[in-house]
Amino acid sequence: MNERDLLDRVTRVPGVRGVLLVAAADGLVVAEQLMDGVDGRAAAALAGSLVGRLTRTAEQAGHQRPTFVHLRAEAGSVLAAPGPDDLVLVAVIAPDANVGLARLEMIDAAGRLG
């Protein structure tokens, strides 16, 4: 399954407005599928930076590196599923999206990367 197929599976979840594959340390887009109005470059840079910080926080708290992150905001959420080789799968979703299904698809997709 290639990267495009993996992104497709996530974008098919209702409420998902965009999915990106991000090189987390650089905050740069590797691949993306976005609806209009979603700034992929910003999502990659900001999500990459946030996941990095949360990884450090989890390590300081004695936990292993995160397998899933859900940043919930008033008008939607950012989901992130870290994969191998510093890659992170990032999704921007609407407030009424099926978070549970998106989470399952993203964790599965992140596990198939690399």
């Binding site: 340390a25 650089d26 905050g27 740069l28 470059r41 910003a42 990659a44 840079a45 900001l46 990459g48 930076s49 990095g52």
Partner: protein, 153 residues
């Protein structure tokens, strides 16, 4: 942070606080410094400006030879810190930004907020006549005055 022109201050300050850049230099395409942050010696500023302008000029020539459009930005990844050079249009002509950053931020963050700064500079620039071209006999005194302003002396 020091700037020769006051309208540069706010966009540059916003960039610095969001990007966590360690050093930043804004200059004209000919290497004349407009603003700086993080440098402690005027010699370093002059040298960096000259080198940066030269690198951008070289790569733009390279792009022309290749038949490509101008490169948006150049990034040199280092071990402890990295450097980004980006040329951009302003109402005052073509400027260059040189940004040095460390692992506490990322190239994606730096580029994101660099582009925002470019937009803000375009909006903030006063709509007035461009200054007269600089004469060689004025250059040294202008440079000296600029360096004094950039280092607050």
């Amino acid at each position: 942070m020091r700037a020769l022109e006051p309208w540069v201050v706010e966009p540059l300050q916003a960039f610095l606080s969001e990007s966590s850049a360690r050093l930043t230099l804004l200059m004209t395409s000919s290497g004349q410094v407009v603003a700086q942050h993080g440098f402690s010696r005027s010699l370093d500023v002059m040298t960096a400006a000259a080198l940066g302008a030269g690198i951008v000029a070289s790569t733009e020539e390279l792009a022309r030879l290749m038949g490509s459009p101008r490169f948006g930005a150049l990034v040199h990844h280092g071990v402890g810190q990295s450097c980004m050079l980006g040329a951009f249009p302003t109402p005052r002509g073509r400027w260059i930004g040189l940004v040095v950053f460390g692992p506490e931020t990322s190239v994606g963050i730096v580029q994101l907020f660099f582009d925002q700064m470019v937009e803000q500079l375009a909006l903030a620039a006063p709509r007035e006549q461009a200054p007269p071209p600089m004469l060689a006999e004025n250059f040294e005194s202008e440079l000296d005055a600029s360096l004094k302003a950039l280092f607050g002396r």
